[in-house]
């Protein structure tokens, strides 16, 4: 599904160059549920940016479903993000002046789907995260956990192949965190590849595979045992654990 080969990325910091990703080789299979861990500054957010086509990289190759993602125009990248990827952010990133249902419907707006239809679809997805009754509320009127569920519904509405979550529980208490992970888990069970960046062990323990990043290289890549997507038919058998480059 996702394949990175010798990915390098550096940022200019003043006169110096900060080498953030130092030759990442990584393969994430269809239907996997992976967490990426590492201390701050290890490059895990940058890696997520590259995976999410939010940012480019300097050298190497990144294949999304056998398509080389390199040097895309902004418009093309926007289209890929819209159709292939779902994002969940630490701070939810809901648009404050839009109601829950409008927020969920937003990705479909960029697919030029008519308002009435996309709001109907959005309502279905809100229902799936148990928030149908809150459809007309603004994000400010929702609890943190509810907001994150709205954000998850929003990321799901385009039926993405890969779901990327950046510290999805960072702003939530442990009880709510567990609920959110449960939702992500169930999404994964339905066949969506899920990649979670986190620094919480409780979270990473709930994923099938944990990739540890340190100073821009993959330090450890371990399976949490068992098949990554148990009971799921049609997915490729087993994770193509390419093994850490470290």
């Amino acid at each position: 599904m996702l394949r990175l080969a010798d990915i390098n990325k550096s940022y200019a910091v003043g006169a110096n160059k900060l080498h953030v990703l130092k030759g990442i080789d990584l393969e994430i299979g269809d239907g996997e549920m992976v967490s990426i861990m590492g201390p701050s500054g290890s490059g895990k957010s940058t890696l997520l940016n590259v995976l999410g086509i939010l940012d480019g990289y300097d050298s190497g190759e990144y294949y999304f479903d056998e398509t080389l993602i390199k040097g895309l125009s902004e418009t093309k990248a926007a289209s890929y993000r819209n159709r292939l990827l779902g994002f969940v952010f630490q701070s939810f990133n809901l648009i404050p002046f839009k109601t829950a249902v409008e927020n969920v419907a937003l990705p479909l707006y960029y697919q030029k789907i008519a308002r009435r239809r996309r709001n109907k679809i959005a309502l279905e997805y809100l229902d799936r995260v148990g928030l149908a009754d809150w459809a007309g509320h603004l994000p400010g009127e929702l609890s943190g956990g509810q907001q994150q569920r709205v954000a998850i519904a929003r990321s799901l509405i385009t039926k993405p192949k890969v779901m990327l979550a950046d510290e999805p529980t960072g702003a939530l208490d442990s009880q709510t965190s567990r609920e959110v992970i449960e939702i992500l888990r169930s999404i994964n069970r339905e066949g969506t590849t899920v990649v979670i960046v986190t620094h919480e062990h409780e979270i990473s323990e709930m994923t099938d595979r944990v990739i540890h990043l340190l100073d821009g290289v993959i330090e450890r890549d371990k399976n949490n045992g068992g098949s990554p997507s148990p009971g799921k038919a049609g997915s490729k058998p087993g994770a193509k654990t390419a093994g850490g480059a470290a």
Binding site: S45, L48, G52, L54, T75, R81, F89, S91, F97, Y110
Partner: protein, 410 residues
């Protein structure tokens, strides 16, 4: 092309920042208000000047006689120059470019005009038929004087509407005889004049008849002519030519400014036209400057809006917004604010002009201030352009926001 969603987005952000949007809009509205009031006032001034010229043909040269003021060819200064029919004929014949020419003869003393016991004292002008072009006389009934009237010394008169009202009241006047100093003249025409009431208290007689009837011999009081489409330079040449011709005929120095007065109305008119053009340019410069200040204000605000919404824009991009859609959103918002505010300014400006004009004391130099449709459309175009210009840089910035902004923690 109407995108309801985009409008909802725009209205939502505007609702978010009511005060800021209002203040921004205010600067634009103020700019347009100033422009409209300035342009309208300029228009009022222009109308006022036009009003000054409404009475007579502007492409005319008027020649009056005076007294010599410098000695010439052994002759003392202080001689009165007296025009005769020959002066008229010579000018008509020898000066090139004369379109219409007429003389005027004023009989000395007061002439009383009577009809069946109604009497009045009116200004009597004895003229050539071409006079109607010089004074822009509008014949409302009957006819004006013609060449046959002059050739046959007919005792006919063309009277102003006010004269008719005074002497005839509601009775018909055409074909009736009015007595002028006891001599009956048949009324052949009625006229109106844009110059106002006093210009309609006149009676026109054939100059030849009047010279005979009122002891004028071959004297004329003044003459005037129109110059057709000739440009200012040509008409100035004609004025000089007329002066030289008369100097030769009446033996005074061509340099003598007091012997005859040759007024080239083209020149006066051109001067006012130039003045008006200057005022218009001035008004536009000030107006555009004021709008520019408003535009910079809008641009500034939009810049802040973009800055504040950087994260939101990043999220939108992460969700699949293209740079184009972001650009359009900001640009549309900018044009929308500017256009609405500008329109308010436009309406207020027109209102100020309307009520201001009524409140001001009546003046002949300030008539009917207002802006015409063309100017209003021009102002609208300026507004939309201004809005687009104001939004362009912020919109460009917004389109360049990197989607990774979405992942940054605030």
């Amino acid at each position: 092309m109407f995108d309801l969603d985009k409008w909802q987005e725009i209205l939502a952000t505007i609702r978010q920042n009511k005060l800021r949007t209002f203040l921004t809009g205010f600067s634009v509205a103020w700019g347009i208000l100033m422009l409209v009031v300035l342009m309208g006032s300029g228009e009022g001034l222009a109308n006022g000047i036009e009003y000054q010229f409404r009475d007579d043909a502007v492409n005319s040269i008027w020649v009056n006689s005076g007294q010599t003021s410098i000695p010439y060819a052994g002759l003392q200064p202080g001689r009165s120059v007296r025009f005769t029919n020959e002066d008229h004929d010579t000018v008509a014949r020898d000066v090139e470019g004369v379109e219409h020419i007429t003389s005027r003869f004023y009989a000395s003393g007061t002439l009383t005009v009577a009809y069946q016991g109604e009497t009045g004292s009116f200004d009597i002008r004895s003229v050539h038929p071409d006079h109607r072009y010089l004074e822009k006389t509008i014949v409302t009934k009957g006819r004006y004087l013609n060449d046959l009237d002059l050739a046959e010394y007919r005792k006919v008169a063309v009277i102003g509407e006010r004269v008719k009202d005074a002497l005839f009241a509601t009775r018909p006047a055409i074909g009736k005889y009015v007595n002028i100093n006891g001599i009956p003249f048949r009324v052949v025409g009625l006229f109106r004049d844009e110059g106002g009431q006093s210009e309609e208290e006149k009676i026109y007689l054939p100059i030849t008849t009047a010279q005979k009837a009122f002891g004028g011999a071959n004297r004329i009081s003044m003459f005037m002519l129109t110059t057709g489409e000739a440009d200012l330079e040509t008409t100035d040449g004609m004025a000089t030519g007329i002066r030289q011709l008369l100097a030769q005929r009446h033996r005074f120095s061509p340099e003598d400014r007091r012997a005859v007065f040759v007024r080239n109305m083209n020149e006066f008119f051109q001067r006012f036209v130039n003045l008006m053009a200057g005022i218009r340019i001035f008004v536009w410069i000030i107006g555009i400057g004021t709008i520019l200040a408003g535009v910079v204000g809008v641009s500034n605000i939009m810049m802040i809006v973009v800055k504040e919404r950087t994260k939101e824009i990043g999220v939108r991009k992460a969700l699949g917004a293209t740079p184009g859609s972001i650009l359009g959103l900001i640009l549309q918002e900018s044009v929308f604010i500017t256009a609405i505010a500008g329109y308010v300014g436009l309406v207020l400006g027109v209102a100020v002009l309307e009520f201001g004009a009524r409140a001001l004391p009546h003046s002949e130099f300030f008539v009917n201030p207002g802006i015409d449709l063309r100017l209003a459309l021009a102002a609208t175009a300026v507004l939309v352009l201004a809005g687009a210009a104001a939004g362009f840089i912020p919109a460009y910035r917004a389109a360049r926001v990197r989607p990774v902004e979405a992942l940054k923690d605030e």
